[in-house]
């Protein structure tokens, strides 16, 4: 009988059979990233809390903090984007943009562990800094699709929305700021029942109310963008759709209710879905204000793929197992 020497909850060992497969996937993806000019970086697993602050805390389900011997508060990184934003603003303070980086790194979150949800997990992250939308977004989506295909994934789709769309829509019909915040809180967790109660409570006319109830449930092709009487966010999405190559465009499913949890997103947001996996395999979006918080004002866009989730999806596709 194996003796009791457990690893902490939400962590695990990777043994050679799995490691070989994981290595093959990461190598294939890294080649795609490098080919597109995304140089690989490593950043510390621990950062000063005072530097990364709570920037990455929002959707990350808590996090791990510790103290160093001077009493400074340190944080285990809970995503890759914030450290790379720091690298770009500090190590490349005067380099002509755009800057392209990729990283394969373990991130740490205080989630409740379950299948595909570990507290320590490996992410592949790619960030394009200094290239505004829609071209930057289109490039990132192209790299994402190529990397997933290089890894061997076949059936995946990309859900894409805009973090600012619903807020703009609420603003355009005169919804006040406190109510807007409450509604967006419900939208972020996709509690459409609560969103419905809040929207109906505003007292708008029937057509506007129907529109506000429809938009968070609206998924489909690019044609749905034309049906929404809002132009800033939908123009951004239309432009992205126009800028990606056809093999990427056919992977896109527009999802007007997609917001994602992290509050640093400023424009397009997207998630990777595969019918062989029950949970999103990763995602990303535009974060045009984040690098500026480290002192260099550059627009940026990026994504992160959960390597364990991707591995599960690949194995599922291989078995022809399509639970959904």
């Amino acid at each position: 009988m194996a003796s009791m020497h457990p690893t902490p909850s939400g962590t695990r060992d990777v043994l050679p059979d799995e490691m070989r497969e994981l290595r093959a996937i990461t190598d294939a993806m890294r080649q795609v990233f490098e080919r597109h000019g995304y140089g690989e970086v490593w950043t510390p697993a621990i950062e000063y809390e005072s530097v990364v602050g709570r920037l990455d805390g929002a959707g990350a389900g808590g996090g791990y903090r510790l103290f160093d011997d001077h009493g400074s508060v340190l944080r285990l990184r809970s995503d890759i984007t914030v450290p790379i934003a720091r690298v770009a603003a500090t190590r490349y303070a005067s380099t002509e943009p755009p800057l392209r980086f990729c990283s394969f790194a373990h991130v740490y979150r205080g989630v409740k562990p379950g299948r595909g949800q570990m507290r320590e997990f490996l992410q592949a992250g790619v960030e394009l800094i200094g290239s505004a939308g829609p071209d930057g977004t289109a490039e990132i989506l192209t790299v994402l699709c190529e990397a997933l295909e290089a890894a061997g994934l076949r059936e995946y789709r990309i859900g894409i929305g805009d973090a600012g769309l619903y807020r703009a829509l609420l603003g355009s019909v005169g919804v006040d700021a406190p109510t807007t915040d409450l509604i967006l809180e419900a939208l972020v967790v996709r509690d459409l029942v609560r969103l419905g109660v809040l929207v109906r409570g505003i007292g708008l006319d029937a057509a506007t109310t129907a529109l506000l109830l429809r938009v968070p449930q609206w998924r489909g092709g690019a044609e749905i963008l034309d049906a929404v009487p809002e132009h800033v966010a939908t123009d951004r999405l239309r432009a992205v759709h126009g800028a990606v190559p056809p093999e990427v465009a056919r992977r896109l499913i527009f999802d007007l209710g997609l917001v994602r949890h992290l509050d640093y997103y400023t424009g397009a947001v997207f998630e990777v879905y595969d019918p062989a996996a029950g949970m999103p395999l990763g995602g990303g979006g535009r974060y045009d204000d984040l690098v500026g918080r480290f002192g260099r004002d550059l627009p940026a866009v990026g994504f992160a793929v959960d390597m364990n989730g991707l591995h599960i999806a690949l194995a599922g596709e291989e078995r022809g197992e399509l639970p959904l």
Binding site: R190, Q217, P323
Partner: protein, 208 residues
């Protein structure tokens, strides 16, 4: 047929849920007569206790599911989309204690802390934090009504439909915390990849 796998809660919500699925044109007759079978692949139905529904839906083992709002409030960490209030299965989450002078209020006044038994630790904790009261929560799995009768706790937080069980055990409702009804939830991946099938279900449910 919907082409979807649907998680159906056993227990109090089951009858109304099967009626609802009948209205969607799903043949639920086999589910109704079969008390022990859990998986009905022909009609895309899997049955389970209500608190397991978000777990199966989050993992993608079911595309959509029906469960009580009480379950969703107790497990906000489950990444599922909440699509529709189905209206049935209406229950109230209450704070109750033995009839007569309220032992909970008495404990709070004299001891500073009220002992409360519940199955709904998170809902109870949030409620008492919001109302600024110090409590010691005791998590129990079975009949919560027993806890105050034995003197183990001063009060309970529990779900009640008619209040009959509370009354029969000599307990009275002191405060109503929230109302829970049945909700339709969806897996985030299915919500996008099977949008047409899910929208069709929503449309027919809203029309019915």
């Amino acid at each position: 047929m919907t082409g979807l796998t649907i998680a159906v809660p056993r227990g109090a919500l089951m009858g109304d849920t099967l009626d609802l699925l009948d209205r969607l044109g799903i043949d639920t007759s086999e589910v109704r007569v079969n008390d022990r079978k859990l998986l009905f692949a022909d009609v895309g139905i899997v049955t389970m206790r209500p608190s397991d529904v978000p777990i199966y839906v989050e993992a993608g083992a079911a595309d959509i599911g029906i469960t009580g709002k009480d379950v969703l409030l107790e497990h906000p960490e489950r990444a599922v989309y909440e699509l529709l209030d189905l209206g049935y299965g209406r229950c109230t989450m209450v704070l109750a204690s033995v009839a007569g002078p309220d032992p909970g209020a008495e404990a709070l006044r004299r001891l500073g802390v009220m002992r409360v038994a519940t199955k709904y630790i998170r809902i109870a904790r949030t409620y008492f934090e919001e109302t600024g009261r110090q409590v010691e929560l005791v998590e129990v799995k079975g009949s919560v009504e027993l806890a105050p009768l034995t003197g183990m706790v001063d009060a309970i937080v529990d779900l009640t439909a008619t209040g009959t069980t509370l009354r029969e055990n000599g307990l009275v409702v002191r405060e109503e915390i929230c109302v829970a009804t049945a909700r339709l939830i969806a897996n985030p991946v299915a919500h996008t990849l099977k949008a047409a099938a899910i929208d069709d279900v929503l449309k027919r449910l809203s029309a019915g």
